[in-house]
Symmetry: C2
Subunit: 215 residues, 2 copies
């Protein structure tokens, strides 16, 4: 089963590495990082670069598509090369998935119209503008479309989808070997749980919905 994880400049690294480290452990998986050009692709911090081993053109029909998000997603929403590849890949994919604002790229490609989906909590409004039904859930399945909330949720998405494809025991094995028994030192991981003034601050600062220029 071929799994393609899409990279673009200023993606968020954990968005990509969460599903890689979980779903990527699917027995027999042929996982590949893809981008418009081969070679290192810098993440949003500029201090991390992941290597794309193949171009989009070289991987036209993956079984599973994984699209991370990150601030770099905004200009990609007008990149017809990437959007066209997403539409083509989706036409034959078994699963089309995203983490964080990666769902806005699926939405911009027209793939989430009328579908239930999620995204980073600061981007849910934009998802709605593209005709998706946004939910505040962490992992959302709608047919073959699987979207996850912000950044770290890709780990939960990856394990959940791994269980669907390969069975509970395979997913439990990966959870055990990655020792995924989370013990966050704070309980501030969602807008409902974080201190209200932090949530407000980022809602005000949020660039989501301003830069996209949709309509």
């Amino acid at each position: 089963m071929q799994i393609a994880i899409v990279l673009f400049p200023h993606f968020t690294a954990l968005d990509a590495v969460g599903p890689y480290e979980t779903l990527g452990r699917l027995p027999g998986a042929d996982l590949v990082f893809v981008a418009e050009q081969k070679g290192p692709v810098r993440a949003d911090t500029d201090t991390l670069a992941l290597v794309a081993d193949k171009t989009l053109d070289e991987v036209p029909n993956p079984d599973i598509v994984i699209v991370p998000g990150g601030p770099g997603q905004t200009p990609q929403m007008k990149n017809e090369v990437l959007l066209g590849w997403l539409r083509t890949a989706d036409a034959t994919s078994t699963w089309t998935t995203s983490v964080c604002t990666g769902s806005l790229l699926l939405a911009a490609a027209g793939l989430l119209k009328g579908r239930r989906a999620t995204s980073h909590w600061l981007a849910l409004d934009v998802l709605e503008e593209f005709g998706a039904q946004s939910t505040g859930e962490r992992v959302v399945f709608d047919g073959k479309y699987v979207t996850a909330a912000g950044v770290s949720s890709g780990i939960d998405m990856g394990l959940t989808l791994l269980g669907r494809i390969a069975g509970d025991e395979t997913a439990q094995t990966v959870q055990l070997l990655t020792e995924y028994d989370p013990q966050p030192p704070y309980d501030a991981g969602s807008p409902e749980k974080a201190p209200a003034h932090l949530v407000e601050k980022f809602r005000e600062q949020s660039r989501f919905g301003e830069d996209e220029g949709q309509e």
Copy 2:
């Protein structure tokens, strides 16, 4: 504050990216991936490569050292170039940290003798053989030494240390923006919680303690 994340062939990607995405968001941090040679370093799957932007020699005195683990840690336990760098960096570091079997590299460098520390659950015995007091805890502080359990625990370590250095609100902000509100689909993330037959299977298969040739 300079943060150096050490890469070596066949490291586990999430071990490195968990602290990168959390502790790396420390305001004013100068984070750099380092390795013996610059350039792409392949992870344990061979399908992911992270770029080392500087050599070990170029970053002799980071304020924070982060050592990931992964199956590739085993040969590194005899790599005097890396072990020597760890000793030198540790001599002036503010924090010396590890994720997963990265703690075995700190131990092999002689840095954990008599200290409380943790590692991947399959590697705790080896830690003891190097004179550390292994604990089953997820994140262990002993002075400036901070060790984390397997793979995903680096996220909890990164957030915890971020809070110690920059205050609770900074760490909560990173937790909120990475939407770290974990909802694993299974409860199998530790040897105490996972199905017993899976735990047994991996204890039997475990290569930790066989290949290292300590003593």
